[in-house]
């Protein structure tokens, strides 16, 4: 079994470079951390390149890991390749899937200028739980960043990810299928038919850009009797997705 103890090793440098989008785009690889996220990724069609583990972690999990390509690393190397303050002891390198040729399904989720990786990953996790086939990412955080993969709990491999522009979206999805989730002035999704719907979720701070909003035929708004300003974006989007699920549109 290969062992790396030096933080100056070239492989280590490559894994560290994958913390940034630039290297991910060039190498078409991304990283995931933690046994749960890594093994959830393996349940999808995402391909593993290799695992890096500390020896302590490997000893605890060798039965699960023995059929995979594993490189043992020192604690110093793990601290370097992990993006976490308290590394779990395992980092996996995976091939980024190419979803560009995947069909545009009739239903999906659109992340519109969502910059928070936690919100983006959590929304992907809800979409995966509901078997929503397509997640479209427009001017949002890079969905292959370690924090998004982490917040998705590794479910990002279960949906088709499309990173494109709003104009691209409009060439594939009719305006009548676009349901913008807004803080005010929309219909309550509980009382709305949501068939063949793409639910568009914007950022908490700025919402959905006005121009994009005007090309969505429908607006939906969750009731907030407590008169608070808004809900967490991931929560609001997830509730809207669930309500549309109960309406049997997916």
């Amino acid at each position: 079994m290969e062992v790396i103890n030096s933080v100056h090793n070239n492989e280590v440098k490559h894994v560290v470079a994958l913390h940034n989008k630039k290297e991910r785009v060039i190498s078409k690889e991304f990283i995931a951390e933690g046994i749960r996220a890594c093994f959830t990724l393996l349940k999808s069609e995402i391909k593993l390149k290799k695992f890096y583990c500390t020896s302590t972690f490997y000893q605890q999990h060798y039965q699960e890991l023995e059929s995979f390509s594993v490189t043992l690393v020192s604690n110093a190397v793990m601290n370097k390749i992990s993006t976490s303050h308290t590394p779990s002891g395992i980092v996996g390198i995976f091939d980024m899937p190419d979803n560009s040729l995947a069909d545009w399904t009739t239903s999906g989720l659109v992340l519109a200028q969502i910059s928070d990786p936690g919100n983006a990953g959590t929304l992907i996790r809800t979409a995966a739980a509901l078997k929503i086939p397509t997640v479209v990412c427009i001017e949002s955080v890079d969905l292959w960043s370690p924090k998004v993969v982490q917040s998705s709990a590794g479910t990002i491999g279960m949906v088709n990810i499309k990173q494109c522009s709003w104009q691209d979206l409009l060439t594939h999805i009719p305006s009548s299928s676009l349901y913008a989730l807004t803080v005010t002035n929309g219909q309550d999704p509980y009382n709305t038919t949501l068939t063949n719907s793409y639910i568009v979720v914007g950022s908490e701070a700025h919402g959905i850009p006005e121009e994009w909003l005007s090309s969505c035929q429908h607006k939906i708004t969750l009731p907030m009797p407590g008169n608070t300003e808004s809900l967490n974006a991931a929560v609001a989007g997830s509730i809207a997705l669930y309500l549309s699920f109960y309406k049997n549109s997916f």
Copy 2:
């Protein structure tokens, strides 16, 4: 206007100490950061002690701030008293409300061993948006910690917070009102009557302790056709709260 430039000032030391539960319990005070969370707190019955602002921040917001007690601080002091990597420029000290004498309402939310401050705060935010009157916190993260207050977007003042034991809860709320949210084997809340309900949400990693679960008369489970392991705890709890809202129980 008072000005503090030294990080060794006693007031600065007190604010820093409020980052920890021990000092919050002694002084019955807590801190909030960011103009949005602070002003949302002021919409509730929570009382402000004072604001600490950088002069840059004060100049940008003096119209909103001029009627409040404000102490100007240097950037070094702000970096010290803020819990954020990128301080917004305002920290508020507030009196912790005493909800121990508040009535036990017929409906509410129970946080059962929720250790993640982001999940706890997000659930409080959903409860506030839905006008759910009571949030019970059992063996969970301290709800007055800066991260919980932040994730609640300042809405924590809009609900009655009760921090107690499971046994205490059972002396006030009948088992027939307790709806445990579980990953499997519960009824779909969409098809369940949820009247006078306390929805019990456990941690993602460990769920609700078996003994506690056995004293809940009802179990509810959200459908997950995508065969993922679970949803984010804040998302699952929020969806359950919303579905119970639509059932008109709150």
